[in-house]
Symmetry: C2
Subunit: 186 residues, 2 copies
DNA sequence: TGGGTCATGTAACCTGTTACATGATTAG
DNA sequence: CTAATCATGTAACAGGTTACATGACCCA
């Protein structure tokens, strides 16, 4: 999956590993994170597959860099991957794993847990969500407004997800508080 | 994370690796999947850590089995993990990765993509969602209604997520269709 | 003088996936 | 007779994380 993410970025233009890391942090961070170590490893794999080529460029006053470019084979692979069926049933939700076993903690502790969770689980940490993103560096890279639309879709998703988490947590708190008031009624 | 999931299940009662796999499929499948190979591997690791003990039981007419039990150390570790801060920023969303690069496909293809996506991404495939789950085997295992409540919370999440996906896809379709009608207007 | 940016990576480890392997009993 | 259920795992590989390592330049 990361392989194809990198391939997709290189399809917009040549980049160094370092730049790829930056784009990940600036523009894909709300749905995918990648370590530098993994990026460099995947770049090697992509080159082995013939999906990208790399050229070494010497620089003055800065470290040398390796510029990576997508090949025709790579472009073919990108489109093949886009049309591939999404694999189902690979959900892996950390929050729900911890929620499932929360019976081991007290109700009061869990009310607190669900009250503070939305803040911790924010997709866009600074709360500026689309505003920040819309003025980010990524706009410079995607001149095509159509391509920028799909990028906006991913941000929409993040906003909706954040809202959903909030509603879910509120509901959990309500149900738990109902239990405690019941107990004090009797 | 899987380690602690297994620990949590063994806290409800002794189980074989096979039973753990079954519970995963029946009750945790909507937020976590685990292969048998991984379960057996993690059981070995849990035993090494002293969090569980295992005893070999011979059977007639059936293969022998290994029954795993949580230790006091294991129970301590389970609670420690529950109170641990959730690690942030490890979102990894396959759908959004593919969405991000959809500019490489035609608008018509993408409208089709977002129209069929909700069906493919269903958390509860047969559409019975809570009904099926509420009458499932898991109820037998959790006699404590309070513990069952947290399990219900995870199902609530699944239902809300499914609904959110639907709304998001509908919106994507709308925005893409608006583009095509604009084009035909001129 | 200290921290940030540019720029590269390796090594070890942990976690998850795919494929393979065995074999008896039981229900339809 | 055949498929499902019970019950165990190993091996190889793929993907992700953590820690380490280097070094110059620029700005405050």
């Amino acid at each position: 999956m990361l392989k194809h993410g990198i391939l997709g970025l290189l399809n917009y233009g040549d980049m160094t590993g370092y730049e790829i890391r930056t784009v990940f942090k600036d523009s894909l961070n709300h749905f995918w994170q990648a370590q530098t170590s993994q990026i460099y490893r995947e770049l090697q794999a992509l080159e082995k597959n013939g999906w990208i080529t790399s050229s070494h460029v010497e620089q003055k006053g800065k470290p040398d860099k390796n510029i990576h470019s997508i090949t025709d084979e790579g472009r073919k692979e990108l489109v093949r991957w886009l049309k591939e069926e999404d694999e189902q049933g690979t959900i892996r939700n950390y929050i729900l794993m911890r929620t499932f076993f929360r019976g081991e903690c007290s109700i009061a502790e869990n009310i607190e847990y669900f009250k503070t969770l939305p803040e911790k689980e924010k997709v866009f940490p600074d709360g500026q969500s689309d505003a920040v993103q819309a003025t980010g560096d990524y706009q410079k890279m995607i001149d095509d407004p159509l391509k920028a639309l799909y990028w906006k879709f991913t941000i929409d998703f993040g906003i909706m997800y954040e809202k959903m988490i909030k509603e879910w947590c509120d509901n959990c708190v309500h149900e738990l508080e109902a239990l405690t008031s019941e107990a004090s009624d009797t």
